[in-house]
Amino acid sequence: MALTLEDVKRVAHLARLAIDEAEARAVLSQINDVLKLISEMQAVDTRGVEPMPHALDVVQRLRADSVTESNQQRDLLQSVAPEVEGGLYLVPKVIE
């Protein structure tokens, strides 16, 4: 199924990517080429085949529900943030 220009803009919004008209047009045909490539696998009869989410059929490892990390790394982790104040990440005002 081929995408339209409107689809590309909608998906870009979902992905939180700003996209202008020219860029959307340029990427549209490339995405449709890739979807055409993908369509080959859509025709395969997979009734009764279990999806394979993981390369080895292993079970997710669990651990005890206990605190394992302290908050002492906060300063270190925030040292690479664009804007912080008093241990908080700053973003534009969300609630009036």
Binding site: L3, D7, V8, V11, A12, H13, L14, A15, R16, L17, A18, I19, V27, Q30, I31, D33, V34, L35, K36, L37, I38, S39, E40, M41, Q42, V44, T46, V49, E50, P51, M52, P53, H54, A55, L56, V58, Q60, R61, R63, Q73, L76, L77, S79, V80, A81, P82, E83, Y89, V91, P92, K93, V94
Partner: protein, 486 residues
């Protein structure tokens, strides 16, 4: 020194023929003198490297040397290394100094290896040519007008040009094996779960796997011995007994059963590539191996399946780049949504954005089953093909890549052509199998050809043993790029 293998450099360090400081300085000098031609490195930090070298010399003096103690290793810029700029080839992380070490980096540091520098790569490992890097393309040491392959192209070029004795990389659809093949060196993608993904910047988590690049199978084994190991911080890391990956290096390959899948030998690869691969298979027969023709009927679906799964997982993984907690933030924005959208639009390059869009689309409401779940079902069919084939043989052999290195710029305008380049490497990622590429000859233009060996889960030792035996009988892995000054 720069033509020596890790194995012999370790012997040199152990016998005090030279110190790690001298060895590290030698490679830094080579990089400074030659890397403007190849652009294999994004970041060097000689001060930090030499400090590690000095500590390694002290360890050796104290009799606490391990095989990698004092060996300088180039690290793909996808591995977080504390205090090092870690960019993943992207503008998004061009200002990111990692506050912590990846598990692999931790293990290498503990073994006394020296971080020689961070290598250039396709942005977020999305590419097969190392051209999508924000920092500019990497050049192939065998011909600088050609790409080195990707995405671990900087690591491959560094090893090929003798700017590093060994390197680490990652492989999601061929990103270690294909650049190893195109650059004339050796590269191993281990079984999924053998090497921890902690601190390895995520692309497609169900496929990503770290591994070594070096000039011999023996060196790969030495590197993997340090890189592999259980790590509770990666939920897919496997709890297994430690293995010595050098254990099969001395063993003969007589009686080894080699499966030759018709899909790898049907038309598709270039005649020069097939000539070299056929000759390599002939060499293994001479060494006493048996060959058997096998088939992987669903293999042709690997690329379509991959281009659903990898972008889907990438679109989810790359949602973390929001311009808030780390990485690039757009200089101007009106509100929070605008901050997200502009930071991401400006911080990501074209290929990354294209894959995020595809991934978001295939995961979006109404399409999830038709794309993502269907791809996971076909993935199982492909994995089953391998399981069937491995009932009849011990290893599979074929070309690593359908062609030798292509021209810089040649495939950049046509994503599908670029994607099809990984037809022989993607299947191992989908099935989680180990895959190894070793040099096995040259095309008419003098560009290297790679032979791929694949095995059952956890058969790295066997693959490395077979490759080592081949490298004792041949000298393709010893060839030096003609353009590289000695």
């Amino acid at each position: 020194m720069h033509n020596a293998t890790i194995k012999s450099l370790a012997a040199g360090l152990a016998s005090r023929a030279y110190s790690s400081v001298e060895l590290t300085q030698h490679f830094i000098n080579r990089i400074n003198g030659l890397d403007q031609k190849y652009h294999a490195f994004i970041t060097l930090n000689p001060e930090a490297s030499l400090k590690q070298a000095k500590a390694a010399d002290a360890l050796r003096s104290a009799g606490k040397g391990q095989p990698l103690t004092g060996i300088p290793i180039a690290q793909k810029d996808i591995f977080c290394a504390r205090g090092w700029l870690t960019t993943c080839g992207s503008k998004m992380l061009s200002n990111f100094t990692s506050p912590y070490d990846a598990h692999v980096v931790e293990r290498l540091n503990k073994a006394g290896a020296v971080i020689l520098g961070k290598t250039n790569m396709d942005e977020f490992a999305m590419g097969s040519s190392s051209e999508t890097s924000y920092f500019g393309p990497v050049r192939n040491p065998w011909d600088v007008d050609k790409v080195p392959g990707g995405s671990s192209g900087g690591s491959a070029a560094a090893v090929a040009a003798r700017l590093a004795p060994g390197a680490i990389g990652t492989d999601t659809g061929g990103s270690i094996r294909q650049p190893a093949a195109l650059s004339g060196i050796c590269g191993l993608k281990p079984t999924y779960g053998v090497v921890s993904r902690y601190g390895m910047i995520a692309f497609a988590s169900s496929l990503d796997q770290g591994g070594p690049l070096a000039r011999s199978a023996e060196d790969l084994a030495l590197l993997l011995n340090v890189m592999a190991g259980f790590d509770p911080r990666d939920s897919t890391s496997l709890e297994r007994e430690r293995e010595d990956y050098t254990r099969e290096l001395g063993k003969p390959v007589k009686g080894l059963k080699i499966g030759l899948p018709e899909e790898f030998f049907a038309k598709g690869a270039s005649p020069d590539v097939m000539r070299a691969v056929d000759a390599a298979v002939g060499e293994f027969r001479k060494l006493g191996c048996e060959t058997v023709e096998v088939s992987l009927p669903n293999m042709k679906l690997s690329v379509p399946v991959y281009y659903v799964l990898a972008p889907a997982e990438a679109s989810s993984n790359l949602a973390r780049y929001d311009g808030v907690r780390y990485g690039y933030r757009a200089p101007e924005y009106t509100d929070l949504l605008d901050l997200y959208k502009k930071s991401r639009a400006q911080g990501f390059g074209q290929e990354v954005k294209r894959r995020i869009l595809i991934g978001t689309y295939v995961l979006s409401h109404g399409y999830y089953d038709a794309y993502y779940i269907q791809a996971q079902r076909v993935r199982r069919l492909i994995a089953r093909d391998f399981a069937e084939v491995f009932k009849r043989c011990d290893v599979i052999m074929g070309p690593t890549s359908p062609t030798t290195a292509f021209r810089v710029g040649e495939k950049m305008g046509d994503p599908v052509q670029m994607y099809l380049n990984d037809i022989y490497t993607i299947p191992a990622n989908l099935a989680g199998l180990p895959g190894l590429s070793i040099p096995c000859g040259f095309d008419a233009a003098g560009l290297p050809v790679g032979l791929q060996l694949m095995g059952k889960h956890f058969s790295e030792g066997l693959l490395l043993g077979a490759a080592h035996r081949y490298q004792q009988a041949t000298d393709w892995h010893l060839r030096v790029p003609t353009e590289t000054p000695l």
